[in-house]
């Protein structure tokens, strides 16, 4: 029930979609392939399903080599972004398809279909056609259809991409529950970092056909390994500067202590708006600034802070904090940066 991919590459004409990618998905885990569009994540998923042929590399499913197996024989479950339900079949017929083509006994098929209809909470809707269902229901049917033949692994291609925000949110929660219940090894593709951070056990961040970083949500968010991950996952401020003293980067009024850089090195520093501490009292904070702009963002308030020398940074503070401190535009404040990541400039 595990997936192992070794040195996988795929070229479309002169475009390299996937470049020497290797990773493993442990049995029973729920892993996200996160990346912007065109990063090769969907191609990678389609290669694992057998819908695309890799140019180089190996694919192993449940320990057995599947690189040259046809899609038909791989026994993977695949859920498409636009559901790809069979339009002329009812919900029950859609779910039964994978069982019928395997020539299972009719009673067995009936039993399994009933099981799955219950699992995806579609009781009473078995005789409906896909056109009579809402987007969320269609995606649940697609999931049931993929799970019906008891696949070795479940692959989801942007499974919530075509749904509106509220349904997407519900389905996300539901899919984590479903995964706990079925514990099928699941790999899903998404460009939505919130989705990946929220439901995946592990995240593989991809960019331009290669893996940038692999780890838990916390690893990815708090310890970005590359420039790309620092920028792509979560919101971030970044600055470019040089060392002003050994192991110290100066930028405006801020000083960042770093290691692994020589004098004269160009350094890029990333820090998240939520790692910017803002206070109306000096406390221990030495940097002074002014609130240039306030943007209301639901439970959080985004502040644009002018720190002099034509420089400004963004900060995110909880609405309550902002209210208690009486933040308003043009108000002088004290600023500290509690966490940051330094990289050699590219």
């Amino acid at each position: 029930m595990s997936i192992k991919v070794k040195n996988l590459s795929k070229q479309f004409g002169s475009f390299t979609a996937v470049k020497d990618v290797s990773f493993q998905v442990q049995t029973g885990s729920l892993v996200a392939l996160l990346g912007p569009s065109g990063s090769g994540k969907s191609t990678l998923l389609r290669m694992i399903a057998g819908l695309e042929k890799p140019d180089l590399g190996e694919i192993h499913l449940t320990g057995a080599e599947a690189t040259f197996q046809s899609a038909k024989d791989r026994n993977v479950g695949f859920v498409f972004q636009h559901y790809a339900l069979f339009k002329h079949m009812t919900v029950a017929e859609n779910i039964a398809f994978g069982l019928k083509v395997r020539n299972l006994a009719p009673e067995e098929i009936k039993k399994r279909v009933a099981e799955l209809i219950k699992l995806v909470q579609m009781e009473g809707l078995g005789q409906r056609f896909p056109s009579q269902l809402s987007g969320g229901q269609r995606q649940r049917v697609a999931l049931a259809r993929a799970l019906a033949p008891r696949p070795q692994v479940l692959l989801l291609d942007e499974p919530f991409g075509a749904l509106d925000a509220k349904v997407r949110d519900e389905l996300r929660k539901w899919i984590t529950l479903l995964h706990k219940e079925t514990s099928v090894t699941t790999l899903f593709v998404t460009h939505d970092q919130h989705e990946a951070l929220e439901i995946a056990d592990r995240i593989i961040v991809m960019n331009q056909g290669s893996i940038e970083q692999e780890g838990t949500a916390l690893d990815i968010f708090d310890r970005p390994a590359t420039h790309f991950v620092a920028q792509f996952v979560g919101e971030t401020n970044f600055i470019e500067s040089k060392l002003c003293e050994p192991e110290l980067v100066c930028w405006g009024p801020f000083k960042f202590s770093v290691s692994g850089f020589k004098m004269g090195d160009k350094v890029r520093i990333y820090f998240r708006p939520n790692d910017v501490y803002v206070s109306s009292n000096p406390e221990t904070l030495q940097v002074k600034g002014t609130i240039e702009k306030i943007r209301f963002r639901g439970p959080l308030i985004e502040l644009t802070l002018d720190i002099g020398e034509d420089k400004s940074i963004a900060a995110l503070v909880p609405k309550g904090v902002s209210l208690a401190s009486g933040f308003k535009e043009n108000m002088p404040v004290y600023i500290g940066i509690t966490d940051f990541h330094a990289f050699h400039q590219i």
Binding site: K72, N75, H82, A84, L85, F86
Partner: protein, 290 residues
């Protein structure tokens, strides 16, 4: 929850006066009556003017029966061939990317672009005695021109675009996702074709086949060139009508022509039924989307 059909029932943006509306409708019906219904009625009246007995005899004449047989044979074979070729071409164009795809799409339209006479002439030039392959064929005792194979070839050629043209846009719009879903679910090629692809295109395919059949039975130009007009051997219904007419056997000629007219009416009926059927499915979908 609202139904999608309710906002469709809006007040028309343009509403002409009563007079203009009736004038337009009357014109349309008058035109239709003058150019379609009157000739159709004439065919039936002229066919029956010497009594039903003459009508029946004209149709029971061995030459007529032979023409009917040949027409049915040519139509049957060209419908069969176009079913296979049209489906294959539409499949290739709709579901794959390959070099020369645009050339193929253009070539499929060729039989519509050239005059049927030219289509017939192509075969004469290719297979006729003076033609490129003529000597070889006559050495091997194979007759194509002025024989049944030529008629079938010409009929198939002129009807080639119908099925493909009908299916290409349909298959292109449907894409390959359902087929991909089926293969991942473990279906083999045949299962995918019969259970997924065919049900999705069946109405379009049937529509294409009906048009093919109607054109195949009515084709005159191309068939006329390759047939040689041998009575009882290479005459199809349209050719036979012409011969009878030229021989001043009007009643017989109109009697045979009425068969073609009947076929046209049946074709129209089946065609509207299919359109109604596909439309019904479509509007059902529209209505039931949340």
């Amino acid at each position: 929850m609202f139904r999608a059909n309710s906002p469709l029932k809006t007040i028309p943006a343009m509403s002409e006066s009563r007079t203009v509306r009736y004038l337009l409708i009357t014109t349309a019906f008058l035109f239709l009556g003058l150019f379609l219904l009157v000739p159709l009625a004439t065919v039936l009246v002229r066919a029956l003017e010497k009594g039903f007995q003459v009508y029946l005899e004209a149709i029971r004449n061995p030459d007529t029966l032979s023409a009917i047989r040949l027409t049915l044979l040519a139509a049957f074979i060209s419908v069969g061939l176009n079913l296979v070729f049209g489906l294959a071409a539409a499949w290739a164009i709709g579901k794959f990317e390959f070099i020369g795809k645009n050339i193929l799409i253009t070539l499929i339209d060729l039989p519509f672009a050239v005059s049927p006479i030219i289509s017939g002439l192509i075969y004469v030039l290719l297979f006729g005695l003076q033609g490129t392959l003529g000597p070889w064929l006559s050495d091997h005792n194979i007759k194509i021109i002025f024989a049944v194979p030529g008629i079938i070839l010409a009929t198939t050629f002129v009807t080639f675009p119908f099925v493909a043209r009908e299916l290409i846009p349909l298959m292109q719009s449907q894409g390959t996702e359902e087929e991909e879903a089926a293969v991942v679910l473990g279906a083999n090629g045949w299962q995918i074709f019969w259970r997924v692809t065919l049900p999705n295109i069946k109405w379009g395919l049937l529509y294409g086949l009906i048009l093919t059949n109607a054109r195949a039975m009515g084709e005159f130009g191309a068939v006329s060139v390759v047939s040689g007009h041998i009575r009882g051997a290479t005459n199809t219904i349209p050719l036979h009508v012409e011969i009878l007419y030229n021989e001043y056997s009007y009643a017989a000629s109109f009697a045979v022509a009425s068969l073609l007219a009947l076929l046209a009416i049946v074709t129209l009926a089946v065609k509207s039924f299919i359109e109604w059927k596909t439309h019904e499915k479509f509007s059902m979908r529209q209505e039931e989307i949340f």
